[in-house]
Structures are given as C-alpha cells and as structure tokens.
C-alpha cells in the first residue's frame, strides 16, 4: 500500500464536503475491494474517507411497498435480515452467496453496487429487480446506473446512500461461482416484477446486462422450456483461462433455466 491519510467524518455532509475538496480521496466502506486494490498498489488515493459508521447509510426497512437498504449495510446483515427474507428472499440468498463469511461481515451493498465489478453479485439483483439507487444527489434507476465494467452513473463525489427495491412477485438468483475466486463466473437473477419479467446477468459479460430475449420468451410463457430453446450469443462475453465465452453463454442459459425452474417448477 502507498501512504494515504485516513479520515472518518461524522456525517454524510462532512463526507460530501471532504470529497468535494479532495478529488483524489476515496470513500471507504467495507473495504473488501478497495483494500486489496490498495495492497496490490493498484491505486494511490490521497485520503480514505471512512463512511462505514455513518448513520445515514444504515438500516433496512420496508417503505411504501419497497425494500430500502442503506448503502452501508453489510452482506451479512442483508442475508440475516427478516425484512429482506420476507420481502425479497432471493436478495437475502444473493447476499448469503457473496464471498465468504468474513467478507460478508465487512462488505457493503453500497460498495458493491458503486464498484460495479463485472463479476459481483449485487448488480444482477439491483438490475433485475428494477431498483432505484439513491445517492447524496439524486435517484438513479438501475437501468441507467450500471454502465459497463467498473463504470456507473455516479459522478465524482457522488455517493450511494441507499437502494430501494420494489417488491417483485417472485424472484430467484442462480450463481456459478468462479472456481478460484468465488466471484460469479456467471450469475443470473430472474424477477417477475410488476413491470414485467426481468433477467439480469452478471459475471458473463463486461458488465451486468439484461437478457432481453429471455425476458421476452418468459413473458410469453414463464417456464423452463421457454428458456431452454434460447441461445445466448457468446461473441461479447468474457473469456479467460477458466472458461471460454461459449461456456459462459451456456452458463447464462443453464442458470436462467434453473432460476425459472425454481420459480415455476419444471
């Protein structure tokens, strides 16, 4: 790690002010991505601004039929929360499959969503559920928020404060963990929302994306057969030593099928 200065402001406003006047400062929430990045000397921020204890980022509640999760909520808290389990059990399950117990005790939903790692789990849930990302400046629809690998609609100094998930009718998440890292080699979140069927895919491509063909097919007939006959184009997917793009395309289809099977039965 390169040297940096650590600060821990007491309020969101102080954080906003600090980030505004220190362009090279980086917010630090759970640190599960940022600290390994710093250890590998891949980033050199001037300051780390610890936002993990901010009250404004805490809490899980159901408000106006939506599940609202503070950005500073850890994966473990989401996985354990009865609010989440009652409202959107698939989201609790997603959180329970992130990383490992120690990572889940530190890592936060806000950090995961803001980082938008192409193999992270949360982006699939946020996108498939049509959630709204509330920042210190505005509200951003999930469809507008994720913009490809490690890229989001967030502007410099803009922080995720909470995420609001409209309750779906049903939802399921299926993940194929990377054999070494445990990240999603492919993860598929299928949600039957009031606005229609939404299928979001993480891990397989350069960023989370919706599989519109599957959504259309499932809108016509919500069953396994509807997905089984589809083909996921492989051309734009990721390829590495652990799997070809064709393999990932296959995983997208298989995991979608399995998620649908869980929701619809075979």
């Amino acid at each position: 790690m390169y040297s940096f200065n650590y600060v821990k402001p007491g309020s969101l406003k102080e954080v906003n002010d600090f980030l505004a006047s220190n362009p090279e400062a980086r917010p630090l929430a759970g640190g599960m991505t940022l600290i390994p990045t710093l250890k590998a000397r891949l980033a050199q921020p001037s300051h780390l601004v610890d936002i993990s204890a901010l009250e404004e980022l805490k809490g899980i509640e159901v408000r106006n039929g939506a599940l609202v999760i503070g950005a500073g909520t850890t994966h473990a808290e989401v996985a354990r929360s009865t609010h989440v389990r009652d409202a959107i059990p698939a989201l609790a399950e997603l959180a329970f499959h992130i990383g490992d117990p120690a990572v889940r005790n530190c890592g936060t939903i806000g950090g995961s969503v803001a980082n938008n790692d192409p193999a992270a789990d949360y982006p699939a849930g946020v996108l498939a559920l049509g959630a709204t990302v509330v920042t210190n400046r505005r509200e951003i629809a999930a469809d507008d928020f994720f913009q490809g690998m490690f890229t989001t609609a967030l502007e410099p100094g803009e922080l995720v404060v909470r995420i609001s998930f409209p309750k779906p009718r049903r939802a399921a998440y299926e993940k194929f963990a990377h054999p070494a890292s445990g990240y999603a080699m492919t993860g598929v979140f299928v949600a039957q929302t009031n606005g229609g069927i939404r299928v979001a895919v993480t891990g397989a491509g350069p960023g989370v994306f919706r599989w519109s063909e599957a959504e259309a097919a499932l809108a016509k007939a919500f069953n396994v057969a509807a997905v089984a006959s589809l083909t996921m184009p492989a051309a734009d997917l990721n390829e590495d030593i652990h799997g070809s793009r064709e393999y990932r395309a296959n995983l997208v289809r298989v995991l979608t099928k399995r998620a649908v099977a869980r929701l619809a039965g075979r």
């Binding site: 790690m1 194929f176 070494a180 996921m232 030593i241 652990h242 799997g243 064709e246 393999y247 296959n250």
Partner: protein
C-alpha cells in the same frame, strides 16, 4: 476421531504438538524477530526472458529508511552463482548433466517472471517496497520459451549458453530392443499422450527468512522454513561456500512443505549478502504472489506412453517417452525426482517383461520445478494407470480384472523389476479384493443407472499403485536420546515435520520401548549444538528412517542405562531389568529411575539405522458424477485400501491420506500453473486465479488398511504421506474418462475443469451453442 489421545496439561489432544498450534503459540518463520532487524523486499523480473541492460538504484538508495540495495553484481562478487543440483548419475550415452549457473539474483539476464533482480533492505517492509519502486531497470527482451516441447525443438531460442537445445539432460532406462521386439508381436497396443500438469505446491505458510551475520566467526544464523536442517545447511553451503558448521539453521514450526521447502532458495543467499553487508539481521517474508512466481513448482511432465498386450490381456511391454519441464534453472531435486522415482517404479504393480523409458529434461522461461508431493511417483503411476484403464476399455475387459491378471503375485516378493528395483512386499490381489468389496464394484451398474435417470454422467475409476519410500541422500539416519534430570527424554532428530506430526509419532516410537508416556518424550527437530547425520522429511521417508531409529535408539538407551544402573546399584548389568522408566536389580527395592540415573550422570545415546527403500502400495477407487450442463464434477465416492506396512498412528496416516488425495484431486479438477505462451506471464499468480481445493471438494473417504510388513524395515514400516497423491490422479481421471467414454472421449488432460468437460461433452453431443 483420533485413536491416540494424549493428555497435555490436562487437555486431551490427538497430537503432542497441537496445543501450541491451536492456541496461536506456534512459531513459524515470519514470527521470528531480532533486535535491530532490517526488512527486505525483492525487485523481481516482470518479464520472462530479457537481457538486463542496466539497473539504476540511485533514487531508491535515497529513500528514507533504506539501508542497502543489492543486485546480481553483489551475488556474483560473493560467488553465490550456483546452487546444488543432485544430478550425480550419468544419462543416455553417458551424458553428464548440464547444470546452468544461477546467481542468487539475476545477473545479465532474467529467465522467468518473478526471478529476483534486486534486494532492498530498509527499516520497514513498507519502506523497502516503496523504495523498490524507484529502482529503474532497463531490459532488452529476448524470445520467450514457455512450452517444453517447443523448447527442445532445434532452432528454438536458447536460455543458457551451456544448455544446447534447452536440454540439460537425457536419460534412458530399461531394454529398448526387448521392448521393441515385444511391441512387434503384441496383439493390442494402447497409446496415450498424457500431461501431468504444472502445479504450485502452495503450503499455506509463505516462505520467509530472518538472517543474521556474526563477523566474529563469519557465521550466519538463518531462521527459515525447512523440511530438515541438514539438507538446508548442505544446500546453503553449496550455494555460498559458507561451511555448514557456520550456518545455524533455526526453524520451529513449518507451515506445510510438500517438497517446496526442500530447496535452499537464492532469496536466502541474497538475504545473507544483505545481512553481512549491513551488519544487521535482515528479515524477508514472501507475499503469496511472490510465492506463486518464485517458489518451486511441481510436476510439469508430458508423457507419451504405450502398453503392449497379448491376446489374453497380458502385458508384454511398456514404453514411455517422457519430457520433464524443469523451468528456467535446475532445482536441487527436480531432475532426480522426475527421473529416478519414475524409473524405480516403472513397472508399477504389474509384471511387464519388457520396459523402456526415455527421459528428456527441458529448460523453459518459467519458475523452476522441484519435488511436489510424490515427486515423479504420482506421474509414473498416473501414466501407467491411465494406460491400463485405457487398454481395459479398448479390449472390453473389466478394469479391475485386467489389473488382477497382470499383478505381481504375493509369492513373487521380494520382486526384482526389469529396471533393477526390488519391491519388498505386497499382497496386491488382497488389496484389490478388499478395495472392490469396499467400493461395491459389482453394484456400480445400479448406481450408474440411478445417475443416468437424473441426466448426469457417472464414471468409476480405479488405480492400483506402488511407490518407493524411505531411502534418502544421507547414508544413515541418526537419533539422539538424552534423559533429563526430570526423567523427560529429549529426542533429537534432523527430520523436520511440516505438519506430519513427528513430535507425536517419534515420541510414540521411543515411548513404546521405554514404557513411558509419549508426552514424557520431547522431540527436538532443530538444533545447532550437536551434529546428527540424517535425512530431511520428504519422500515419505521419515517414519521408515528416523522414526524407526527412534525405536532403535530407545532400545540402545535401555541397554546403556542398564550398565549405568548396574554401576549405580553395585550389581552386574546382566542382573538389571528395565520397565516403565525404571531399572531394577534382583532384590526388591533395588531400583533406580531414568530421572534418578540422569541426576547422577549424563544419560545420552545415539542410535542409527539405514534401511533402504520400502514399497507402500494400494488401490483407490473413485466414482464421479458429471453435470453435462455445466461440466461440474462431483466426487460421489472415494475409497482407499492401502498397504503402508505396520502403522504407528492410524489417525495421522488417515490425515496424510486425506491431504494427499485432496492435492491429487486439486490437480485433477482445477490446479494449473498457466503461463501465457507469448509474454511468459504467470496467469495464475494469486488464490483468486489459481484453483485451490476447498472444504466439500472431497466426500468423507472410506478407508481400509491391508498391511504386509516391509521386509526392509525392521519394524515392518513402509513410508506413507505421498501415496494418496500417487493413487488419486489415476483413480479420479479414470473415473471421469469412464463417464465420458460412451461419448467417444478416451482421454483428456488435467485439469478437468467444468469448462473443459462441458466443452468436450457438448462438442461430442453436438449440443454446444455458440
């Protein structure tokens, strides 16, 4: 549950070393500190093959806290340019090994990514790392050679001037003419080209050393991870010309070894240079990524094998063409382990009248390869067992039946193999029968059809293996016993546990003879105040060697004690009897305890023994289920029947088997050190990229023993520790291939990753979707 629970400080433990290890009181290499110590950071080559044009350390030297920077120039000046390579036998056509120089830090040229180029020492590890980034190195890139088959092709860029065609050694074993003749009359020949993939040993404790130089007598104190102090001293001494008796090697707990710790690494020699130059102790702790890049790797063999059979399925001959990737330099153990161990067990468990093997070593722009759990034994067993199962499938003979038909029979032991080895003892039909029963081999078809109903593929694989264990490089193993005034017996050995549990098993060996509780025996595996001849722990040798000498030494201690007791009691030694820590005379009340004797005078004895090679053997049977939709393999069942002779501690033997099978399964299903063929970068240099076995990979292994006593070892003990690796590669790969063979797949190289299996299966089924 361990079947030997000891009581230490009122706590039941299965091993005597456990109490400190479960309370955080162990001392591993990075846990040592010395007053005034400096911290070291290595600058490593970021390219695979290049000429070093210049190294500029000016800015780095000015960085606050920096005490010194050392480079290949310093290594050459010190004369630290060549480690030892145990290649002390002649090759094909009397060829001598071509052992290239390897300065402790690269000099003039780098030959693999991660090779140490410079060493920065500073007040803190972070300062050393900060400063290291200020060092400017200009390189001129050279052609990169990664693939060993390409490396030995004429015209390929050469790594070392002294190693033409990148071939440091060629070797042959067996009878080429007889083998060719046998192949000519064979009714069936099965052929496979198999790769035993390059893997990274990855003991969980990263390498580390803390070295202090004493100018008064030109000696060094070296805290370091070892498998045995003698081997470390010998190799360090060979590298640096510092006499062995000027090297005080200190290690307490060692966090896994698997062969990786048997090397005196150039980094240690470089740190010696810094410790001497700065006059302060210097500590270096490797990061995991440095470990991936610069620890010795394992395996890396490409084996073309052919097995000739007659019309009744009897083996006539086997022929191997073996290419062993050695990496950029020859490690101490790499060449010998990848040639000698396969040659020793070239016939496997079978009567094969004619054998021929040709070995060629290759140097490539990759990390050096050395011993890794089994060190050539898993590779030869894998090659043979794949060939045998492939032949069985081609001929439509049951894989167990074909093995059985060709076994060396119990009455044949001791059995002299065509390559001159003498196997001591085994009951292979007995091992097989027990394994087949344990595995319910006959009931497999029912399990297969149950699996098929789920849409998955199922396969069963068998592997029946034998391996050489016990012998070492030192002519004998010595153990010293010394009785303390409190009656506690200190047992000195140079075999060093890296997890094998010597403190328990060696204590048990002596305790049995001395008839005192094992916890009254303190096993010391590292010391510099006395010299003992003996081997390091590796090659599954320690219970066969040093462990057995614990028994011999204890017997000698009783005899010696009797004469001392006779003097003390004023009687003849022949009148003294011994039992449970007490020497007794003929009359009641005439007795003296070990403690009392030691209070009167020194009670110390050295035992020794040389036993040669023992041959543990066994049969592993694995069943796998493959999900064709994802290519994921589930190990559904795993059975082992092993003959490791007389067992000293069953819990420890089981634990060794678990760990070795897991390492085998890791290699089979995911572990693979992958270098980019163009750039020579290691693509798998972290645990995020390199697959490691995790909890749940293996089912609970069903185990049985089928011991025949070794005829070499006086206590009937055979080595164990590696045999789980040796047998598991073949059993697991055979199971997977059995599952996919109906699709027309007759061989796949490891690792059998989900992606690879899905790709192959869907290609054959025509279900791949692009």
């Amino acid at each position: 549950m361990g079947d030997h629970l000891f009581e230490v400080d009122g706590v039941h433990v299965s091993r005597l070393e456990d109490l400190r290890l479960i309370t955080g009181a162990g001392t591993y290499a990075a846990d040592w500190n010395l007053p005034g110590q400096l911290h070291a950071h290595f600058v490593r080559s970021d390219r695979a093959h290049a000429k070093i044009v210049s190294i500029d350390t000016t800015a780095a030297l000015k960085y606050p806290g920096v005490a010194g920077i050392y480079t290949g120039e310093d290594a050459v000046r010190a004369g630290y340019v060549r480690g030892v390579t145990f290649l002390n036998f002649k090759g094909k056509n009397d060829m001598e090994g071509r052992i290239p120089e390897r300065p402790a830090m690269a000099h003039g040229r780098v030959r693999f990514v991660g090779e140490p180029v410079a060493l920065v020492v500073a007040d803190s590890a972070l300062a050393a790392q900060d400063a290291s980034e200020l060092i400017r190195i200009d390189y001129r890139d050279l052609p990169v050679v990664i693939d060993p088959e390409a490396a030995v092709r004429p015209g390929t860029a050469q790594l070392h001037e002294s190693v033409p065609e990148n071939t440091p050694f060629e070797y042959e074993a067996g009878d080429k003419a007889a083998t060719e003749a046998a192949f000519a009359k064979a009714a069936h020949v099965t052929k496979l080209k198999m790769e035993s993939t390059r893997v990274v040993p990855n003991p969980l404790e990263p390498r580390a050393c803390l070295i202090a130089h004493d100018p008064k007598n030109e000696s060094y104190t070296v805290h370091v991870c070892i498998q045995g102090m003698n081997m470390m001293k010998r190799q360090l001494s060979a590298y640096t010309k510092v006499p062995e008796d000027k090297l005080n090697v200190i290690a307490r707990d060692v966090g896994g070894g698997f062969g990786q710790r048997s090397t005196a690494y150039p980094e240690y020699c470089a740190v010696m240079i810094a410790a001497k130059a700065t006059g302060r102790p210097v500590k270096w702790v490797s990061s995991r990524t440095e470990g991936f890049l610069s620890d010795t790797h394992g395996r890396g063999n490409i084996i073309e094998g052919e097995l000739a059979l007659d019309k009744d399925g009897r083996f006539l001959a086997m022929r191997l063409n073996w290419l062993a990737d050695m990496g950029a330099y020859l490690s101490p153990a790499g060449p010998v382990s990848h040639i000698r161990n396969p040659t020793t067990c070239l016939t496997g468990v079978y009567k094969i009248p004619a054998l021929y093997g040709y070995w060629r070593l290759a140097v490539t722009n990759t990390a050096p390869i050395a011993a890794y759990r089994g060190a050539g034994r898993p590779d030869i067993a894998y090659a043979i067992e794949r060939l045998v199962s492939n032949a069985a499938a081609e001929l439509g003979i049951d894989a167990a039946e074909l093995r059985s038909r060709n076994f060396i029979q119990p009455e044949d032991f001791p059995y002299k193999t065509p390559t001159g080895t003498t196997y001591d003892n085994a009951d292979l039909p007995g091992v097989l029968a027990k394994a087949l029963e344990l595995a319910d081999w006959k009931g497999y078809t029912q399990r297969l059809s149950a699996t098929e109903k789920t849409g998955k593929l199922r396969g069963i694989g068998i592997s029946t293996v034998i391996e050489n264990t016990g012998a070492g490089m030192y002519p004998k193993d010595e153990v010293e016993l010394e009785v303390g005034k409190d009656g506690v017996v200190t047992l000195y050995t140079v075999a060093k546990s890296q997890g094998q549990g010597h403190e328990t098993t060696f204590a048990m060996m002596a305790a049995k003879v001395l008839e005192i509780p094992a916890e009254r025996i303190k096993v010391v595996q590292n010391f510099n105040d006395r010299a003992l001849i003996g081997n390091h722990t590796g090659g599954s040798r320690s219970m066969v060697g040093a462990g057995t000498v614990c028994h011999i030494a204890a017997e000698k201690l009783v005899q010696h004690g009797k004469s001392l007791a006779a003097e003390a009691l004023g009687i003849e030694p022949s009148q003294v009897s011994y039992g449970a820590g007490e020497f007794r005379g003929p009359e009641s009340g005439m007795k003296i305890t070990l403690a009392e004797l030691a209070q009167k005078r020194e009670v110390k004895i050295k035992g020794e023994g040389t036993f040669g090679t023992t041959y543990p053997n066994g049969c592993h049977i694995a069943e796998v289920e493959i999900d064709p939709e994802t290519g994921v393999t589930d190990i559904a069942r795993y059975m082992t029947v092993d003959d490791c002779g007389v067992v000293v501690n069953h819990a420890i033997v089981e634990g060794q088997m678990h760990g070795a099978v897991a390492q085998g399964a890791g290699q089979v299903f995911g572990e693979h050190a992958i270098y980019d063929k163009e750039s020579g970068q290691l693509m798998t240099a972290t645990f995020s990229d390199y697959f490691m076995p995790r909890a749940g990979m293996l089912p609970d292994i069903v185990m049985a023993e089928h011991a025949t006593a070794s005829r070499i070892n006086p206590l009937g003990i055979k080595g164990m520790g590696e045999s789980g690796c040796t047998a598991s590669l073949g059993a697991l790969v055979n199971a997977v291939i059995d599952a996919v063979r109906p699709l027309g797949i007759h061989h796949l190289d490891m690792p059998l990753t989900p992606a690879k299996l899905w790709t192959e299966i869907s290609a054959k089924r025509g279900t791949a979707r692009a």
